[in-house]
């Protein structure tokens, strides 16, 4: 499903180049549940952004279901992304001006889903994440963990084929974390959703079928 070929990324800092990722080759098949681990600053988020098509590498190729992503026009790329990928941010990134309900509903709007269907889907997700009571609150009225739940809900509601999650349980208590991992596992097993998560927790990583370790922008074997 995903094939990264010789991906590198650096920032030029004056004359010096700061390498974030070096010569990364990864292949991930449909239906896999992959965890990415590594110390802080090792480039995990950057790698996930690349796979999510919201960042560009300095060098290398990326094939998504056989399509060469970086040669696509922006419009086609965002279509591809919209159709297949759900992204969970490390920093939640909710829209401040919208309520919980509206934040979760937003992707459905862009997927042109009818209003009756939207209602049903959002209600279902709110229920599943046990945040029905919070649906009319604004993000600033939520705790970090609650915001993270909303962020995850927003990513899964469009039923993407691939979920990219950047430390999805970082701000959750262990019980909530387990629930999210169970949810991911269920999506993975029952619906065949491919999941790639970044995590610092060995325990969470163990939910996955495979772990990729990053160290200084390189894959550590």
């Amino acid at each position: 499903m995903i094939r990264l070929k010789d991906i590198s990324k650096w920032y030029s800092n004056g004359s010096a180049k700061a390498h974030i990722l070096r010569h990364i080759d990864i292949e991930i098949n449909e239906g896999e549940f992959v965890s990415i681990m590594g110390p802080s600053g090792s480039g995990k988020s950057t790698l996930l952004h690349l796979m999510g098509m919201i960042d560009d590498p300095s060098e290398g190729e990326y094939f998504f279901e056989g399509e060469s992503v970086f040669t696509l026009k922006e419009k086609q790329r965002s279509e591809l992304y919209k159709k297949h990928i759900g992204f969970v941010f490390q920093a939640y990134h909710l829209i401040d001006e919208l309520t919980v309900y509206e934040n979760i509903e937003t992707p459905l709007l862009y997927h042109k889903i009818s209003s009756a269907e939207r209602k049903a889907m959002v209600a279902d997700i709110l229920d599943r994440f046990q945040i029905v009571g919070k649906k009319d609150l604004f993000p600033e009225q939520l705790s970090g963990g609650q915001q993270q739940l909303v962020g995850i809900a927003r990513a899964v509601i469009t039923k993407p084929k691939l979920i990219l999650a950047d430390e999805p349980t970082g701000n959750l208590n262990s019980k909530q974390g387990e629930e999210i991992m169970d949810l991911f596992t269920r999506l993975n097993k029952e619906e065949g959703v491919t999941i790639i998560q970044v995590t610092h927790s060995e325990k969470n990583a163990s939910y996955g079928s495979r772990t990729i370790n990053l160290l200084d922008g390189k894959i550590a074997l």
């Binding site: 952004h49 999510g52 919201i54 960042d55 922006e74 419009k75 965002s78 279509e79 992304y81 919209k82 992204f87 941010f89 920093a91 990134h93 909710l94 829209i95 401040d96 001006e97 919208l98 509206e102 509903e105 937003t106 992707p107 709007l109 862009y110 997927h111 927003r154 469009t158």
Partner: protein
């Protein structure tokens, strides 16, 4: 989707009340100004266009050739119309049309002077002035016909049918009412309370029947599908064919256009009111643009704040198009709110605007075209102001904004600065324009006209007064408050008549030279307060003064005598002597240069002229008026007492300029206010952005003035650039405007100093208001909240 956008937009407005207020208020003010000007322009453009035969109606214009120059007037010989319809078949109808006259109407015990026009029989068939009584085809057929306005019909024939009733005119003729006019449309520049037969007037004014004399206007109606060029070609030599040696040529100007295109130079149309229509249209666009720029500026500046939302929307699937749609939609929301506010403001200030512009403009809420214009204007404003922010924001890369690494994009910052410069340039041009207009008007107002315009009154010399003027003068001088009394053919405002009939020994007879002439009676120089540079005034003491002349300096130069006093001059065949030279004074408006002028005493058989001119004792105006009224009532019992103050009448001749003066002041104020509103928003935003930096700097020891300077410097630089750009443009525009005045101010450097200083001061005041607040904020507080 729309609901989602609307909610975000609405909550954004609510969460940022200051910015929302600035945006909506700025746009609303800009729209108010555009709406007012649009109403005015629409009204101006519609003037005189309501006549059914509009495309076939023409005004006859006359080019007069004198010493190399062409002067163009709408005047013709009084027998032009009756002849031209016979001689040129393409001209279907024609009617002479006299200047406004004010004859005395008497019906039994009711009498008053009424304003109206003398026209010919086809006039009502050519123009679409409707009658409520009578028939347009026949109403003016008989030479003793009169058509009254409803007002006059009610005044003289209350409760009766006026048709067929008799009115005595000037205690001389009887006329019969043959029609009653319907209300004259507001969009008619011709206004009159009565129409009477031109022939009636011509009977008393036989000079008008001569091909060599020009005066009355003439309107013609062409046959359908006639080529104007062909008719003009036929008209070119027409007067010459009737009057050998004539130096005038006539041509036609479309009547509907004559209101806006009334100025002529070298025989070609050279603007007129159309210039104000153009100038104000540009002003409307400029002010709206300034307001739109505020919106663009604040929106792009604030895009930093909203960038996360944009990033998220992109990541959850929004396409660039959808985001553009969202932001344009937001600005449309704002522009519709602003339009609502603008319509309210317009409703509120329309009465004062009408008073200022002497119009009866109204918002026509029942009119579909009104609403479509409003909606179009709103959409246009929304799209213009939303376009740049929308394009800018929708092209932000999600990763950049989500990682919070979005710095002030240099190209966006440049664009924003360019917009501020543009905005301030426009404002400075308007301020400069305002100052120049103000100074020119002030100059006109206070210019030494060469005679004393204060305490100078004039009344028409009519009825019995015209016969008994010397006795009247004697008696009036005995009354309190009266200092001098004289009479003249022309009022102190304007010497209308001119002549080529002046000769002197050694004159180059190949040249046609035009002299203004004003036959007067004794004491004219004293009464007017004119200075003599040489010689003496006319005086009773010399019996022969009826053949003597006073000339002004301009005339003396034209004649070419080195020492004119005592030299020979012949006017209209009367050989006489120049007895004095007057210092040049303005006997016409300041729009035209001082022309050569010859004064001579009226001859016995001419009467004593048309006006009594009276100088009251300084500060005794009330007494003088009472004296005048008493004497006029006594000498002229059949006439109402009417009087004019010269200085007030002079002011009235500059009405358009006064209106422009006031309007330009309002518009300049509005422009700078809107610009400052935007600047205020930007500074607030910058200060907000740099709160943390300011806090850190203060902790490190920066002083309040230092931080103030840091925050203000950038904006000051922008205003300075605007000054550099605006100054030459403003100079050029105002230089052009001033060309309309023969006597005008110099646009000195002081104008620029004032305008530039004002712009800087206002901008700095605006900036420092916020900057001081930011600089004085407690650093600990600002750092803690970060």
């Amino acid at each position: 989707m729309l609901k989602n956008y609307f909610k975000t937009a609405w909550r954004n407005l609510l969460n940022n009340k200051l910015f929302s207020f600035i945006n909506i208020m700025g746009l609303a003010l800009g729209m108010t100004c555009s709406l007012l000007i649009m109403l005015w322009v629409k009204d101006e453009l519609a003037m005189d266009k309501f006549h059914a035969n509009d495309s076939r109606l023409y005004r006859v214009m006359e080019n007069q050739f004198f010493s190399g120059a062409i002067s163009t007037f709408p005047s013709t010989p009084g027998i032009f119309a009756e002849n031209v319809v016979k001689d040129i078949p393409e001209i279907q109808m024609a009617s002479q049309f006299l200047w406004e006259e004010e004859p005395l109407f008497t019906v039994n015990d009711t009498f008053d002077k009424e304003k109206g026009r003398y026209v010919q029989k086809d006039f009502l068939k050519m123009f679409s002035f409707k009658l409520t009584k009578g028939d347009v085809a026949t109403a003016l057929a008989r030479p003793d016909a009169v058509v009254l306005s409803k007002k006059l019909a009610d005044k003289y024939f209350k409760g009766q049918d006026p048709m067929g009733k008799m009115i005595r005119i000037d205690n001389r003729e009887n006329v019969i009412v043959t029609g009653v006019l319907d209300e004259i449309p507001k969009s008619s520049s011709l206004k009159f309370d009565f129409l009477m037969s031109f022939d009636l007037w011509a009977k008393q004014n036989t000079w008008a029947k001569d091909w060599g004399n020009n005066g009355p206007r003439c309107y013609v109606m062409l046959a359908p599908n006639t080529s104007l060029e062909k008719v003009n070609a036929k008209l070119k030599g027409y007067i010459k064919s009737k009057n050998k040696g004539s130096n005038v040529e006539v041509f036609l100007q479309n009547y509907g256009e004559s209101y806006l295109y009334s100025n002529w130079e070298d025989g070609k149309p050279n603007g007129g009111r159309i210039e104000y229509v153009r100038i104000f249209s540009v002003v409307a666009i400029v002010i709206l643009l300034i307001a739109c720029i505020n919106f663009m500026n604040l929106a792009t500046a604030r895009s930093l704040k909203r960038s996360r939302e944009i990033g998220v929307r992109k990541v959850v699937g929004a396409s660039k198009r959808q985001l553009i749609g969202q932001f344009i939609g937001e600005s449309l929301l704002v522009s519709f709110m602003a339009m609502g506010a603008a319509l309210l403001i317009v409703l509120f200030i329309l009465p004062s605007f009408n008073a200022l512009t002497d119009k009866q403009l109204a918002l026509n809420f029942g009119d579909a075209s009104f609403w479509s214009t409003i909606i179009l204007l709103t959409l246009l404003t929304g799209i213009i102001s939303g376009s740049y922010p929308a394009l800018f924001m929708s092209s932000l890369k999600p990763i950049v904004v989500l990682k919070g690494a979005l710095k002030i994009n240099p190209s966006a910052a440049f664009f924003r600065k360019a917009l501020v410069v543009f905005q301030f340039s426009l404002s400075i041009i308007l301020i400069l324009g305002m100052i120049v207009v103000y100074r020119q008007i002030d100059f006109i107002h206070n210019k030494n006209l060469g005679f004393a315009r204060e305490d100078l009154l004039f009344i028409p010399l009519e009825g019995e007064l015209a016969k008994n003027f010397p006795t009247f003068k004697q008696e009036l001088l005995k009354q309190p408050g009266i200092k001098n009394v004289t009479s003249a053919s022309s009022s102190p405002l304007e010497v209308g008549s001119s002549t080529q009939g002046v000769t002197w020994p050694g004159k180059d007879t190949t040249k046609l030279i035009l002299f203004s002439s004003n036959p007067i009676s004794y004491d004219y120089i004293n009464t007017m307060g004119i200075q003599l540079v040489n010689g003496r005034d006319f005086s009773n003491g010399y019996g022969t003064d009826t053949l003597n002349y006073l000339v002004n300096e301009a005339a003396a130069r034209k004649i070419g005598y080195k020492d004119p006093v005592g030299k020979e001059l012949t006017m209209w065949g009367d050989k006489g002597t120049i007895i004095g030279v007057m210092k040049d004074f303005h006997h016409n408006s300041l729009h035209v240069p001082i022309e050569p002028l010859i004064l001579r005493l009226v001859k016995k058989d001419w009467g004593y002229g048309s006006f009594v001119i009276i100088r009251s004792e300084a500060g005794k105006t009330k007494q003088a008026l009472a004296s005048m009224e008493k004497m006029v009532k006594q000498f002229n019992p059949g006439f109402p007492f009417r009087y004019n103050f010269t200085d007030q009448e002079i002011s009235k001749t500059y009405k358009t300029e006064f209106t422009v003066n006031k309007l330009s002041r309002y518009f300049a104020f509005l422009a700078i206010f809107i610009s400052c509103l935007g600047l205020f928003g930007l500074v607030t935003f910058t200060a907000e952005q740099r709160t943390k930096e300011i806090g850190v700097r203060k902790v490190l020891g920066a002083s309040v003035p230092g931080i103030l300077a840091m925050l203000s410097k950038d904006f000051l630089r922008l205003v300075l650039i605007a000054i550099v750009i605006a100054s030459p443009l403003a100079w050029w525009a105002m230089h052009k405007w001033l060309q309309d005045f023969a006597y005008r101010i110099d646009i000195g450097w002081s104008v620029f100093v004032i305008a530039d200083f004002a712009a800087i001061a206002i901008a700095m005041l605006t900036v420092s208001f916020q900057a001081v607040k930011a600089a004085r904020a407690n650093p600990v507080k600002s750092l803690r909240t970060e």
